[in-house]
Symmetry: C2
Subunit: 370 residues, 2 copies
């Protein structure tokens, strides 16, 4: 019988959960570093001209990152009552390489100059082209390098998973979920770029994008993958994990949307108001659009999506978003979705050992300052 | 004991081999069409906004293509003395989806407007953006769509392979080769774009690019994958297949290089002199550079790689390439490499049933008019 409620922990701190997550983060780091060293050495046997490729990907992957997807996979495994061994940790770590592909290609598509406070991959190679005074057009070189490094990260992710020495059963259980997750990711990304081309905002459309881009890809599917790796998943357990993962995933994306508009560059690793400059049609913008006055809408049109948007324009747009009540409303939605997730995490199908982790992860995914 | 020599067949026609290849081509087509229908239906359950994605990829994959990689995989399987069943055919067909990723991303990186006589994927989505009067910048939409459709094709390729219902042994035998092939492809592609940024041409460098981009990816590795799928591969057989595949793969790339400069648009599906306009540093260009006079080199600099290169400029460059003797030399290299491949195909480790196919495939890969 359950003696404590995870929900009651919400504002507490579980030092054990924090320590357990850090342990997994460290294990993921070690596996990633090992794989990248091996693959970088291999690339160099093909040609020394591939050294910048190996260096850029290693630096991109090893210098930072919250390792959210491996951590959710770990929690999924634990939820099924299983404590993961090395092959399983390798399989989980491979999700970081998939995420590297998503970020590298995302920055290219969005034309973002920075990622985690450093130049994005296309800008990095563009700068190398200028610095080394290479022939041709530097931005074209940057574009091509970002396309290929993203592709390589996607292939490496798969290679790391294939080489993790999973059992055939683990493989058969994991692969359909893993493949569906990757299709959902690409579908969500396409819907996102397609949304930016629409004349009107639409709350349900934006919510669907948040669900596919983040709810499923960042949280629900990694949990499922972890459960599948345990060999003990059942449709009921996967459903229980979805009931936690989907609302939390939406909340995670909404926090990200708020950070993209109000976040400090020192925290986001991106310039202030980056999403406003890119004209990202997020749920926050759909809420603003639905609630603001005609004059606010006219005013906002002058600034939203302007490539040369400056700090004054950002302030005006931020003010409109706040005045419309959209910011407050989204904060409330984040709280409600997180509560919903935490209630779902209490499901008795989820092994009790996983509860403090699911709570801690919910905090990490939705807190205001990271 | 061997009674006929495959090498002796060189200028003959094997109707049986042609028919066998057509049969495999048809089987691959059926598997691809089935997979694409299933996946397109799935995408539409996510959102009707994904219909253009499904349509564009299906049209890209089903309207044309020589199916070279599945055919070489089939020949590899046959070389090991195995006649492939449906799961194996599915695994072979998945290579076409990988190739779709390579082509879509290649066209984006090269800024190519057409592929097989139709708009390239980025141009297709760019045109849709203009036609439907969507918001934002049409080329950015085209770029993002091409990045994501290429990514999706890469993921689908893997999904089709994972879902082919191979045995665990097939899986374990195939995956390391398949993963290495994909890394080699991305490495070759990077070396190719990097080569375009160099101040000087270099024959060994260009040859290495041809080997990785084509020799290995198009021919050697598909043969190995086919052999691995048979469950009967040995290091010796893989070596014998490499001895055939690597020279043939180089010859294939050189034929492609010649077509990129001298090919008719009706045959190549690309504008005349496309590689000259893009300034592609191929083996043909390295040979020209090494053999031409200083004045020819000066003259060529005016035109090579000029984005607005017209038919007169193309003629001048073609003339320089011919006069330098590079075209003739490359034709000779193609002949020699093909002969080398055909001699290697006679290896007694390669099952005799595969011989006529290896011969026919060598013709298809290197002939002048497709």
């Amino acid at each position: 019988m359950r003696t404590t409620s995870i929900y009651g922990y919400r504002y507490g701190v579980s030092l054990e959960a924090k320590a357990a997550l850090q342990e997994i983060r460290d294990a993921v780091e070690i596996e990633l570093a090992g794989f990248l060293t091996e693959q970088s050495d291999y690339l160099k046997t093909i040609s020394s001209d591939l050294t910048p490729v190996a260096q850029a990907l290693s630096s991109f992957l090893l210098d930072s990152g919250k390792r959210l997807r491996p951590l959710f996979a770990y929690a999924g495994c634990l939820s099924a009552g299983c404590n993961p061994q090395t092959p399983t940790i390798k399989a989980m770590a491979s999700l970081e390489l998939l995420q590297a592909c998503a970020l590298i290609h995302d920055d290219l598509m969005d034309g973002s100059d920075t990622r985690r406070g450093k130049p994005s991959i296309h800008r990095h190679f563009e700068s190398m082209h200028v610095q080394d005074e290479l022939e041709g057009f530097a931005p074209a070189y940057g574009l091509a390098a970002a396309v290929l490094l993203g592709d390589l990260a996607l292939v490496w992710s798969n290679q790391m998973l294939n080489a993790a020495e999973l059992t055939f059963k683990q493989f058969q259980d994991v692969m359909p979920i893993h493949d569906e997750m990757r299709v959902e990711l690409m579908a969500g990304q396409f819907l996102d770029i397609h949304e930016q081309t629409q004349k009107t905002t639409d709350l349900p459309r934006s919510q669907k994008i948040a669900r596919y881009k983040s709810g499923k890809y960042t949280i629900e599917r990694p949990l499922h993958i972890g459960a599948a790796l345990s060999g003990k998943q059942s449709p009921e357990l996967l459903k229980a994990l979805s009931d936690y993962g989907l609302p939390l995933g939406e909340a995670f994306q909404y926090r990200d949307d708020l950070m993209g508009v109000f976040g400090e560059p020192s925290v986001t690793g991106k310039p202030a108001g980056d999403d406003l400059r890119e004209g990202k049609r997020t749920v926050l913008i759909a809420l603003t659009d639905a609630a603001c006055t005609e004059s606010m809408r006219e005013e906002s049109k002058k600034y939203f999506g302007a490539p040369d948007l400056d700090s004054q324009g950002i302030s005006i747009l931020q003010e409109i978003i706040i005045t419309s009540g959209a910011k407050e409303k989204l904060e409330l939605m984040i709280d409600q979705l997180t509560d919903q997730a935490l209630r779902a995490a209490e499901d008795e199908l989820i092994a009790q050992a996983a509860h403090p982790l699911l709570l801690e992860l919910a905090k990490i995914a939705t807190k205001r300052s990271t």
